[in-house]
């Protein structure tokens, strides 16, 4: 069987890295909107 362990790790880092980065972006956006809403009220 070919030794493709490095590609497997790289693949998972890219997939989960992008997913986690998007979730963090959404969390920061939610926080920013909450702060703006609080400032207005």
């Amino acid at each position: 069987m070919a030794d493709t362990y490095n590609y497997f790790i790289l693949g998972y880092v890219v997939i989960f890295g992008l997913l986690i980065a998007y979730c963090i972006y959404l969390a920061f956006l939610a926080k920013k909107l909450k702060r703006k809403r609080t400032d207005k009220s």
Binding site: G11, L29, L33
Partner: protein, 203 residues
């Protein structure tokens, strides 16, 4: 294939989610054009954003899988080329949206763009089946181009597709709510500016 084969389940799941998201964006855009509800525009834009993210994940995971399989990171194969064209079509959608300040105009042009842009999805899907492509297919009537998969592989892939669909629903709800909230705050700011500007003008 060894360990890298495990990337396949995420590659297919992400590819499915990308195409599903663009289909949802198109359907919601049609509803927007019929009803004129800006909530539909927010949902369509959110679906397109999620679709773009997963198209990028599909492309990158495919490149990583291609290196040990085809001995190259990239080749101008019909499937790979149409996939990138599809991703860039949706990237252009966000550039178009960001260039428009009027929400009604933005929603109308955006909806038309998403309906027309959806043509890239079936082209991408069928490119590996109809054109000469080295990209394998999972679902195909032609056994020559079909991937050799065992029953556990099909089960894992099915579960992956199911899990990605659930993830899509969750992300779509969350992103749409944030987009609507963003729009509300922008509208309130615009109204405040208008009132302020009116007061200044009236002395």
């Amino acid at each position: 294939m060894g360990w890298v084969q495990k990337v396949f389940y995420f590659h297919v799941g992400a590819g499915w989610l990308g195409m599903l998201a663009f289909a949802v964006a198109m359907v919601v855009s049609i509803i927007y054009l019929r009803k004129g509800d800006l909530k539909m525009d927010a949902i369509a834009a959110s679906a397109a954003e999620i679709g773009f993210l997963f198209s990028i994940i599909t492309t990158l995971s495919g490149m990583i899988w291609a290196r040990p399989s085809w001995n190259t990171w990239w080749t101008w194969d019909p499937r790979l080329t149409t996939m990138v064209i599809m991703a860039f079509t949706y990237l252009a959608y966000f550039l178009l949206r960001n260039g428009m300040d009027n929400p009604i105009k933005r929603a109308r042009f955006g909806s038309i763009y998403l309906i027309v842009g959806f043509i890239t999805v079936p082209i991408t899907f069928f490119s590996a089946r109809l054109l000469r492509s080295i990209h394998p297919t999972v679902f195909s009537s032609n056994s020559g181009e079909k991937m050799a998969m065992t029953a556990p592989m099909y089960q894992t892939m099915g579960f992956s597709i199911f899990a990605f669909t659930i993830l899509f629903v969750f992300l779509l709800i969350l992103r749409s709510q944030l987009r609507m909230e963003e729009q509300k705050i922008k509208d309130a700011e615009a109204l405040e500016n208008e009132i302020e500007f009116g007061e200044v003008n009236n002395g």
